[in-house]
């Protein structure tokens, strides 16, 4: 359930146009009678008083063929001169890819704008088109579920299950924001993520790039990340937060460490990281002080000593032995095991690593879940999955496979109107101002707009998760964990 601090406000796109799915063409036969403008309730056709000619159609507002169901509004039928035609817009194909389809991106934009899943039914947003993993799994809803009211359904997730006297952290929705360092993203992006986390009573993570002062008001909802380069990590930043995350590896580039190109290492970034401006910064792989699980325990003990309240999260990627690593981390004292699958996001990674190294998260979750169960440790550790969780449906499937919750990154950035063009790392950085510290680009949006877009996205996901739980007749998201019997796979029916 959403905390009281969550208020939904419509927050439209910051751009004049959005990427249209359809194309409305008006031929020369048009006599500018204005019938289309009168009949279209979506504002595709506009006739300005005093103008002779009707304006060119605004494609992106059109809901397409779905409009045909309602003869009243289908401008193509209405037009007395048959001057209008409707087709798929070739532009739509240039948006997205088979993992994040154009429909998924469009739907995420709608969620960020309105706070709810799209009402339009012409957008297929619950699944991607990658031909495997989540895209081949289906939720199997019972015909007669137990009747549960929406407001009886809890989406709370308890992060500390060790009963070790450390902070009893409960988040209100089983999702939190992934680590994105200052330098890889702009300060507005970081700040809005932290503000959203605070409004939603969940978390965001600093990534490996220091703890900007502007985040201090949101300390209780920030995770300090300790990664292999230890950039910006100080005793003070470890003591500041309720959760400290050790990042061993990242799904998009497992075994490769981090990489911030010199161009993005601007003056402010360098100061935060205690590095020299303009120099490419590498986080090595692995932790050069950790060659065994005992060394790993030493690290965890060290953080626990420094911050007696904090929970420790361990973020690892998904090699063949991910289950062993997870159990090892549990024995070393971790509260949260965070597994980041091979198809996860990044601000910069070699393409060879993104595609080829380590397994997709869909395989890792059930492996780790059952291995922890066999070890008798599943109930005392929180299992978080990330790396390819694109929608609320992916989230639900991940939980059915055995995760307690998920970390998202790309979805948040898309809410801020990322188009996944993949140029976060080049030159001045993100052309859309999300992943850039360039003085001009980073000012392309303000954090009020961004915060509300994120709050709306989290809300839309929560609404969908509650829908799913209601269809299963469940009262809490915890009941869904590990319920693979509620899933089916199109290849193994």
């Amino acid at each position: 359930m959403k905390p009281d601090s969550v208020v939904i406000k419509t927050m439209p796109s910051r751009f004049k146009h959005q990427v249209p799915k359809y194309r409305v063409t008006r031929s020369d036969a048009c006599i500018n009678c204005g019938m289309c403008a009168k009949s279209c309730q979506y504002g595709v056709h506009e006739r300005i008083e005093g103008h002779n000619r009707i304006r060119p159609p605004i494609d992106y507002k059109c809901i397409g063929y779905e409009c045909r169901k309602n003869d009243e509004f289908y401008c193509v039928y209405k037009c007395p001169r048959k001057a209008l035609s409707l087709s798929l817009n070739p532009m739509y194909e240039t948006l997205g890819d088979c993992r994040w389809t154009a429909d998924m991106i469009t739907a995420t934009w709608i969620m960020a704008e309105t706070g709810y899943p799209p009402e339009r039914t012409d957008i297929d947003y619950q699944m991607g088109n990658s031909g495997g993993g989540f895209d081949k799994l289906r939720l199997k809803f019972p015909e007669n579920p137990l009747k549960v009211e929406r407001d009886e359904i809890s989406t709370d997730l308890r992060l500390n299950r060790r009963n070790d006297g450390r902070a009893d952290v409960v988040i209100s929705t089983p999702v939190y924001g992934g680590g994105m360092s200052f330098g890889s993203v702009s300060l507005s992006t970081m700040l809005s993520k932290a503000r959203c986390a605070s409004i939603w009573n969940t978390f965001t993570c600093t990534g490996e790039g220091g703890y900007p002062e502007m985040l201090h008001p949101y300390d209780d909802h920030v995770i300090t990340q300790v990664a292999t380069g230890l950039f910006g990590v100080r005793e003070e930043t470890i003591q500041r937060t309720k959760i400290v995350e050790f990042k061993y590896a990242q799904g998009a580039k497992p075994g490769l460490g981090g990489h911030l190109l010199g161009e993005k290492n601007t003056e402010s970034v360098a100061r935060m990281r205690e590095a020299v401006q303009g120099v490419s910064l590498f986080s090595p792989f692995p932790f050069h002080s950790v060659y065994s699980i005992e060394d790993h325990k030493k690290h965890i003990d060290w953080v626990k000593q420094m911050n007696p309240k904090a929970l420790v999260s361990v973020k690892v990627s998904t090699p063949n032995d991910v289950d062993m690593v997870a159990v090892g981390s549990y024995y070393a004292g971790a509260h949260i095991i965070h597994i980041d699958g091979g198809y996860g996001g990044t601000g910069a990674a070699p393409d060879i690593a993104k595609k080829n190294i380590a397994m997709p998260i869909e395989y890792a979750i059930p492996r780790v879940h059952s291995f922890l169960k066999d070890e008798g440790a599943r109930d005392v550790v929180t299992l978080i999955a990330s790396g390819g969780i694109r929608s609320a449906h992916d989230l639900a499937k991940a939980i059915c496979l055995g995760a307690d919750g998920a970390v998202i990154g790309t979805a948040e950035l898309i809410a801020l109107e990322c188009v996944r063009c993949g140029n976060c790392e080049s030159g001045r950085g993100c052309a859309r101002g999300i992943a850039s510290t360039d003085s001009e680009l980073a000012d392309l949006f303000d954090d009020e707009w961004a915060t509300q877009r994120l709050v709306n996205l989290y809300h839309a996901w929560n609404v969908q998760l509650v829908d799913i739980l209601q269809k299963f007749g469940m009262q809490s998201v915890a009941e869904l964990v590990g319920r693979t019997d509620l899933l089916e796979h199109v290849d193994y029916r």
Binding site: F282, Y291, D321, A348, N356, G422
Partner: protein, 466 residues
């Protein structure tokens, strides 16, 4: 420790248009306001050079698909689409994106790096149906391409002994066969098409710069190529060995086209080469049904290096149950292990090696090294179409391109591939590419893991009833 092997790369743009993925059409309702020129940070939109009142046609090679111009044009006058010429490239194996990737690596020699996660299909046929493994914690220091640690990508070609024999006096009684060391598990297999002399020379020059070899028909070895004798593998039929005596006598490696006669009498063929030179002999066998038998027989009769050649899409010769090169290599590797002679022969594999990742993947499946062919030409701007039949189109004016530029682009491509090989080895915690051979345990195969995970989870009833 030997000196760290490094391929020096150098930006070598060709300053000509290759393919672009996107196309932007400016509609008639453009009012030349210049908004697009202001919002595009890649300078794809500019005012006309002749007439600055008009906006010039967009420079699509610079477009990075950020959508700023599309979304901010006050008149909505710009329409972007996928360029049909781009989509028509390649086919089911050679994906259009591969051409851009190869071309760009040839340009700058760098590992392709980008933001956002992987955007392709979950899995796929051939090499796309496997992932390489990595190690999380318990491995000694390594930092991939940026690091201080030495990761060896060297392999050696030639016959190795199963064991050593000593005489009664304790002296070595076995004859040690000559081997050839390569610093990188890649040789060039110059594609069989009509190539101008400058390209052939450049391939050989590039091979020399990278410390490896280029394989080409002995008949093509002209005088200007012969000066790189140390980096050439002349390819001859077993009947013509004496005809190419002069070429073979200078070579360190020589390749013989496979013929069934070799199965019966490899020994005498080897003898006739030995009379001319000490060169290590490669037998070049087309991938075909039953290749495991051929390779085994050749190996048992003393073949030193066997080069398995699949077609340009990595397929074996058409026939029942036509396999992809990944399966072919796996089968050959396992058979040789069964026969207990795997370590005695070297296996080269080629055909369909299109991306850097294919090199470690082929090695994991059991090859010692790979040979690369068509990418050498894509690096220069060649285009390939699979349907209706294979067509390779060389760029205009290739024959006039300076040899040094052509060579540098090929070197750049190899430099980028070598760096990527290091990344993959580093992630696995393997310090020597020789140890990767046949290490299928260090890979994750889609077929296995999908059945093992989802098959078990979602096939419960069936297994219970059995």
């Amino acid at each position: 420790m030997p000196k760290k092997y490094h391929i020096a790369v150098q930006a070598t743009p060709l300053n000509r248009d290759f393919v672009s993925k996107f196309k932007i059409v400016r509609g008639a309702n453009c009012i030349n306001c210049g908004k697009c020129t202001k919002v595009c940070i890649y300078e794809a939109h500019k005012r006309g050079a002749q007439d600055p009142r008009k906006i010039a046609e967009p420079h699509m090679a610079l477009c990075k698909n950020c959508f700023r111009c599309i979304q901010e044009c006050p008149r909505g006058a710009l329409v972007k689409s996928l360029d049909p010429d781009f989509l028509a490239l390649g086919g089911s194996y050679w994906k259009p994106d591969m051409f851009l990737a190869i071309y760009t690596q040839a340009e700058d020699g760098k590992v392709p790096v980008s933001g956002a996660g992987y955007r392709g299909p979950f899995t796929g046929p051939g090499f796309d149906g496997m992932w390489t493994d990595m190690s999380e914690i318990v491995r000694p220091t390594r930092d991939g391409i940026h690091g201080r640690e030495y990761i060896s990508t060297a392999v050696d070609l030639g016959r190795k002994l199963n064991h050593l024999n000593f005489d009664d006096a304790g002296n070595l009684a076995s004859t040690i066969h000559p081997t050839v060391d390569l610093p990188i598990p890649i040789v060039f297999d110059i594609p069989p098409c009509i190539l101008s002399p400058n390209v052939k020379v450049a391939c050989v020059m590039a091979a020399q710069t990278a410390g490896t070899f280029a394989m080409l028909p002995a008949a093509d070895i002209t005088e200007d190529i012969q000066q790189y004798a140390n980096s050439i593998i002349p390819l001859v039929s077993h009947e013509k060995i004496t005809a190419y005596e002069s070429v073979i006598s200078d070579a360190r490696l020589v390749a013989i086209e496979y013929a069934p006669a070799l199965l019966k009498d490899f020994g005498s063929v080897k003898e006739s080469i030995k009379k001319i030179s000490e060169a290590v002999t490669i037998v070049r066998v087309p991938a075909m049904t039953g290749i495991e038998d051929v390779v085994t027989k050749l190996a048992l009769s003393g073949a030193e290096v066997i080069h398995i050649v699949a077609d340009y899409c990595g397929r074996e010769a058409p026939g029942q149950g036509q396999r992809f090169v990944k399966e072919v290599v796996l089968a050959v590797h396992l058979r040789l292990i069964e026969e207990r002679i795997r370590d005695e022969v070297t296996i080269i594999v080629s055909g369909g090696i299109a991306m850097a990742e294919h090199v470690p993947k082929a090695i994991i499946c059991g090859a010692d090294l790979t040979a690369v062919d068509i990418p050498l030409l894509i690096a220069l701007g060649a285009l390939l179409y699979e349907a209706p039949e294979m067509k390779l189109i060389l760029p205009d004016g290739l024959e006039k391109m300076p040899t040094a530029i052509v060579a540098r682009r090929i070197v750049n491509l190899m430099g980028a591939w070598h760096s990527q090989l290091l990344e993959v080895l580093g992630a696995m915690g393997i310090r020597e590419v020789r140890r990767l051979r046949g290490e299928t345990g260090r890979a994750i195969f889609f077929d296995e893991i999908d059945k093992d995970t989802f098959g078990k989870l979602f096939h419960k009833q069936e297994t219970a009833s059995i």
